[in-house]
């Protein structure tokens, strides 16, 4: 081991016996443990810190070498030594600057150190072509430039690259390196384009193959990275020459990459390269080149059927190569590249694709899965998904989840556009949960709730699936599935009317193992218990009334004696099931034929038992430390307390029931609470709430105290809180509610705009029913009619399915692409700088860039000032130009261009000018056309309404607060409104929609 020699006294001995890099490596390798290695590293670092300050350059160099090694392979930050690195650069000994350059290349970057500009002069000296600079010195200097130059440094040193770039010496080893360094210079400093671009273009035709191949690499980088590759179009003849003449596969691959970007811009170019590319596919023995050709054809030349055919055949060959997984993988990738237009290609190799699902290679399985998902259509979605889910059951966890994910994503895409049979899809979701590896609980949860909200027809099946999930005690222990269970609980609570056996549901929701659930899910469970209990009670009440009607009718017909027995309450003989309240025919009379089955189990006794069960299960939770659980538990207990408070529960005979008004009131109140459907909420819903013109805040605020006092009374009267109101005043009458209602109606009339608009007078075309719009007077028929209209407008016309019509899926407008496109344009602005610079260079007007700039800005300003008609004139003019141009070039264009190029090679200046001019003309036409397109695509900005936007609506106990967007005084105006018993719910949902989520649990009982 390295003894800590003279740790305290740096001396000559110390430098003499300095440990070399090899010694350091040996010391590290002989460390027995990781801790020992860390200690050795720390010791070495101390040593290095001392040595690197030495005036002796050899010592310094060795120290830096060791530091470089440690920092590179042990991830230490070497930035503290940046200055010492620079100190080594001027040394006359070749190895010193090389050590310095290596250290710098591995750790220098504008973001980590700002010292590099100090070495500007040194770099310049090293890259200057002179006999004293061997390539071994200039090369690392160029390398450092290629990796770490900042925009300023790049700008300063750009002229110094020129001699290297244009060096005519045969196979100068530095020329390709200078070309590579120029790439970095161009990309960090677009201003250097006028200086560097022409020499770079010349390098393309260099006789040195390395220079040419590096140069094409540079252009490939530039063209592939550019958001708009059109500035490189004028170079197409150069690239074409390489494509035809060059035999180097590396160069050809790069040329193909460039053409893949350029071909979509210029149809004639596509036609021109088609032939050589197909030749390469047929003839080349190099798989890499063939694959590149396939990629080029499939991505950029997919309009040419023959070529696509050829490429697909070749891809199939790849797919069939059993011994090489790489080729199989790439074959599948090639098929993935083909868009849905060419789905025939996938269909043809369907078998191979399906077989690949079983491949041991995860890559291949993944690509195959993508392809299979791409094949999905509404015709085969059922079979394929069933197959995949079954397959996922027996595959390894990772791939099982990949499959689940793919199925969920594909089926959920664009509001389940592939799904015709939602009953099937919902049960498929249920099946997914049964997968032992399923970790996609969150997405399944989302889709279950989402389908519940959007697809009315799927609700019965949804409730069935939810029930199956809830009663399975095995699922409760799986932490990945608790979200799904939460959705199931919510669904069974919200759509309990479809449940076949609500009592069973409550038992499932209260089973002992629910204590394994996280508290938030538990809260959802308890809220579901609340809803289900209420539903049972309401149904039971309806049965009573129906029975009463019937018994009254019967008694008048003197048949009371027959029926008397069954109508006796179970309270009399509570243990005897036979005397329980049988109501089959009564309900039938009450015109609820569909619900016979599920309600037949509801008896006075069963509900009593139920209440006991709930009390014993939920009771302990009323002291739960989790507020959500506690609050909801108390709500449930409050409800039961209220039910028990009514004399209804103690009556012995049926006829006493109707005398108790409170029962009816309670039932009506609670029924109203949950009667509204929860719907999906558009993310834009909040924006549509516009501000009324005549709003004066004072007026509103002056009403507040009155509203408040009114509302307090209401609150008290309907409160369930056991703690604050030990005996709930159910005897109090409900007059205040009515009063508040009238007040609210008044308010709604005056400030209707705050309420989600009921009329469809919105600017944005929003023909969808507003979520949670109170359906006070509208009958059910109206709603369906509305929905029918909706579907007709929003769903694409699809083939009529004779068997089963697709249920309607509520869809809200999705007009939120504006912000993202803005972001994109900002992101692209830097690249555009470079493109613009290159455009200028290639169009040959770098000598007078100001004039061209002026011209273009002139044009744009004119475009802005003038009205639309003028604009269109401008465009038509351009189109005329371009068609003329097309005619001129039409038949012999590429030949003439080619010719031009040859010409240029012979006598450079004159020919070049000519061809450039020709290209520039063509180019400007095109670019202006593109410009126009972009303009047309932009949303008309002046139409944006200037009204202040409400940015937040908060629900508060007696109403809501609405925050608007801040005004010119930087204030956020607030409007406070009241809410009646109903809209409280919808306002909460408005709040939800602000945070972009669907309403999950309703807080009605606050």
């Amino acid at each position: 081991m390295a003894a800590p020699v003279a740790a305290s006294s740096p001396s000559l001995v110390d430098t003499l016996f300095q440990r070399s890099l090899d010694d350091l490596i040996r010391a590290l390798r002989s460390s027995p443990s990781a801790a020992a290695e860390d200690a050795a590293i720390a010791r070495a670092l101390d040593e290095i810190r001392r040595e690197i300050r030495s005036p002796d350059l050899d010592t310094k160099a060795v120290a830096l070498q060791k530091l470089t090694y440690l920092s590179s392979l042990n991830f230490l930050d070497p930035s503290w030594a940046a200055f010492h690195t620079l100190e080594l650069l001027p040394s006359p000994t070749l190895s010193h600057p090389r050590v310095g350059y290596l250290a710098a290349a591995l750790s220098f970057h504008p973001s980590s150190t700002d010292l590099l500009p100090l070495a500007t002069h040194q770099l310049r000296k090293h890259i200057a072509p002179s006999p004293s600079n061997p390539p071994a010195l200039a090369a690392p200097a160029l390398h450092l430039l290629a990796l770490a130059s900042s925009p300023d440094l790049a700008n300063h040193l750009a002229p110094d690259l020129l001699p290297l770039l244009s060096s005519q010496a045969v196979s100068s080893p530095l020329r390709p390196k200078a070309v590579a360094a120029a790439l970095r210079t161009l990309s960090v400093c677009p201003d250097a384009a006028p200086v560097l671009f022409k020499p770079l273009v010349d390098c393309l035709s260099s006789s040195d193959p390395r220079t040419a191949s590096t140069a094409i690499g540079v252009f490939c980088e530039l063209a592939v990275a550019a958001p708009d590759p059109s500035p490189y179009l004028p170079l197409a003849p150069e690239f074409y020459r390489l494509l035809v003449d060059c035999r180097n596969n590396w160069v050809l691959i790069k040329v193909l990459k460039i053409f893949a970007r350029l071909a979509p811009l210029e149809p004639r170019l596509a036609g021109r390269i088609l032939d050589p590319v197909c030749q390469l596919i047929r003839r080349s023995p190099a798989k890499s080149l063939v694959f590149e050709c396939i990629r080029t054809v499939l991505t950029s030349l997919s309009d040419h059927d023959d070529a696509v055919r050829l490429a697909v055949d070749k891809a199939k060959e790849f797919l069939a190569s059993d011994d090489d997984p790489n080729l199989r993988y790439l074959g599948l990738r090639a098929l993935t590249m083909l868009g849905p237009v060419h789905s025939w290609a996938v269909e043809e190799s369907r078998e191979a694709v399906i077989r690949s699902l079983h491949d041991p290679d995860t890559n291949i399985r993944h690509e195959a899965l993508c392809l299979v998902m791409g094949m999905l259509s509404d015709n085969n979605v059922v079979e394929i998904c069933n197959l995949l889910i079954k397959y996922a059951m027996k595959s390894d966890p990772e791939f099982a989840n990949e499959i689940l994910d793919a199925v969920l994503m594909t089926c959920g895409r664009n509001l389940y556009e592939l799904i015709l049979d939602f009953d099937w899809y919902v049960s498929l979701l249920g099946e997914m949960v049964r997968n032992p590896h399923c970790a996609k609980g969150d997405e399944i949860e989302r889709q279950l709730v989402d389908i519940g909200l959007r697809v009315r027809d799927a609700r019965p099946e949804l409730v069935r699936v939810a029930r199956d999930l809830l009663i399975d005690p095995a699922l409760l222990g799986n932490p990945f599935l608790c979200r799904v269970l939460s959705a199931a609980a919510w669904i069974s609570g919200e759509y309990v009317e479809f449940s076949r056996n609500p009592l069973e549901l409550i038992e499932a929701l209260l089973q002992p193992r629910t204590n394994l659930l996280p508290s938030l899910v538990r809260a959802v469970y308890i809220q579901a218990v609340f809803k289900v209990t209420l539903f049972c009670f309401i149904s039971f009440n309806e049965q009573m009334q129906a029975a009463e009607l019937l018994s009254l009718g019967n008694s008048s017909n003197e048949r009371q004696g027959n029926l008397e027995g069954p109508y006796l309450f179970a309270g009399k003989t509570s243990t005897d099931q036979n005397t329980a309240f049988e109501i089959d025919h009564c309900v039938a009379t009450a015109d609820k034929a569909d619900s016979i089955e599920k309600k037949e189990t509801l008896t006075h006794e069963s509900i009593s038992n139920l209440l006991h069960l709930i009390e014993s299960a939920v009771g302990p939770l009323s002291e739960c430390a989790e507020v959500e659980v506690q609050e909801r538990a108390r709500n449930v207990l409050g409800l039961i307390f209220n039910i028990r408070e009514t004399q209804f529960w103690n009556i012995k005979a049926y006829h006493e029931l109707t005398r108790d008004k409170k029962v009816t009131e309670l039932v009506e109140l609670m029924e109203a609470t949950f009667s509204e459907d929860l719907g999906p909420v558009s993310t834009n819903a909040q924006k549509r709430v516009s501000l009324p013109e005549d709003l004066t805040l004072n007026e509103n605020l002056s009403d507040i105290s009155k509203i408040l006092s009114d509302h307090d009374a209401t609150c008290a009267s309907i409160s369930f809180s056991l703690r604050s109101h030990p005996s709930v005043e159910t005897t109090e009458d409900f007059a205040p509610v009515a009063e508040t209602n009238s007040l609210l109606a008044e308010h709604r009339k005056r400030h209707g705009l705050y309420y989600l608009p009921a009329e469809k007078d919105d600017i944005e075309s929003n023909d969808y029913p507003l979520a949670n719009e109170p359906l006070l007077s509208a009958s059910h028929g109206d709603v369906t009619e509305d929905f029918m209209k909706l579907t007709a407008q929003s769903l694409n016309p699809r083939k009529a399915k004779p068997t089963k019509p697709r249920p309607m899926v509520i869809r809200l407008d999705e007009g939120d692409g504006v912000s993202s496109s803005n972001f994109k344009s900002i992101k692209e602005s830097k690249d555009d700088l470079l493109s613009g610079a290159i455009r200028n260079v290639l169009l040959g007007n770098e000598s007078k860039p100001s004039s061209s700039l002026k011209k273009s800005s002139d044009k744009t300003s004119r475009r802005r000032d003038n009205d639309v008609s003028d604009n269109s004139e401008l465009v038509s003019e351009h189109q005329d130009n371009s068609t003329i141009g097309d005619k001129e070039h039409g038949q012999s264009s590429s030949r003439s261009r080619h010719h031009n190029h040859r010409h240029k090679e012979k006598n450079d200046s004159s020919g070049k000018n000519g061809s450039n001019e020709e290209k520039s003309h063509k180019h400007s036409t095109r670019s202006s056309r593109y410009h126009k397109h972009r303009q047309r695509g932009d949303p008309p900005s002046d139409i944006v309404p200037q009204a202040p936007v409400i940015i937040l609506v908060l629900s508060i106990p007696f109403g809501w607060i609405c925050f608007q967007e801040k005004n010119e005084f930087n204030l956020y105006p607030i409007i406070i409104g009241i809410a009646s018993d109903q809209p409280v719910r919808s306002h909460w949902i408005r709040l939800d929609c602000l945070f972009g989520s669907v309403p999950f649990e309703d807080p009605t009982c606050n």
Binding site: F17, S112, H143, A180, L330
Partner: protein, 166 residues
């Protein structure tokens, strides 16, 4: 362009790292860990490509070769060809093999500078410079010859330092 060249052993210890897009040291460590996690999961005789979007950003892939105790990994984006990168790894390995006569992990461990010199002849600033291992070897040897002739570092007696280090 090529984003990074990584040589690491089958225990995940890096042996040669070169990032053509700057990464701070902590980030490097994280990247190496994630790459190793991916590679060590993969069985033998499967394809050599891995989508690396999650590790190196969108559009990146990596190609690797598992040779003896080492992984050779090239990270690249969509301006490179997958199979060509695989060939390039072959060129790199071939050059090392020629240079060190049957290269093994130890050669790579103890020849930090030379490894970088060879790599810089093949890939320069993320661009492929040379694909003939013969040419690369020639250039690398020329450099070490020049370095030796001008250097005085090696004059420190090896034997002495050797004794101290043991």
């Amino acid at each position: 362009m090529i984003r990074a060249v990584i040589v690491m052993n089958t225990q995940g210890k890096p042996r040669l790292l070169k990032f053509y897009e700057f990464q701070p040291p902590e980030k490097q460590q994280e990247l190496i860990r994630s790459v190793f996690a991916v590679l060590s999961e993969r069985p033998d005789k499967v394809s050599n490509f891995v989508e690396a979007d999650a590790i190196f950003g969108p559009g990146t892939r990596l190609v690797y070769k598992h040779l003896a105790t080492l992984y050779f990994v090239f990270v690249f984006d969509n301006s490179e060809n997958e199979l060509a990168m695989l060939d390039l790894i072959q060129v790199f390995v071939e050059t090392l093999d020629r240079c060190f006569k049957n290269v093994c992990e130890l050669d790579i461990v103890f020849n930090f500078n030379k490894m970088h010199a060879i790599l810089d002849e093949i890939i320069f600033g993320g661009l492929v410079l040379e694909t003939s291992s013969e040419q690369v070897l020639k250039a690398a040897e020329e450099i070490s010859r020049l370095e030796k002739s001008s250097s005085s570092i090696s004059f420190v007696p090896k034997a002495v330092t050797g004794r101290f280090s043991r």
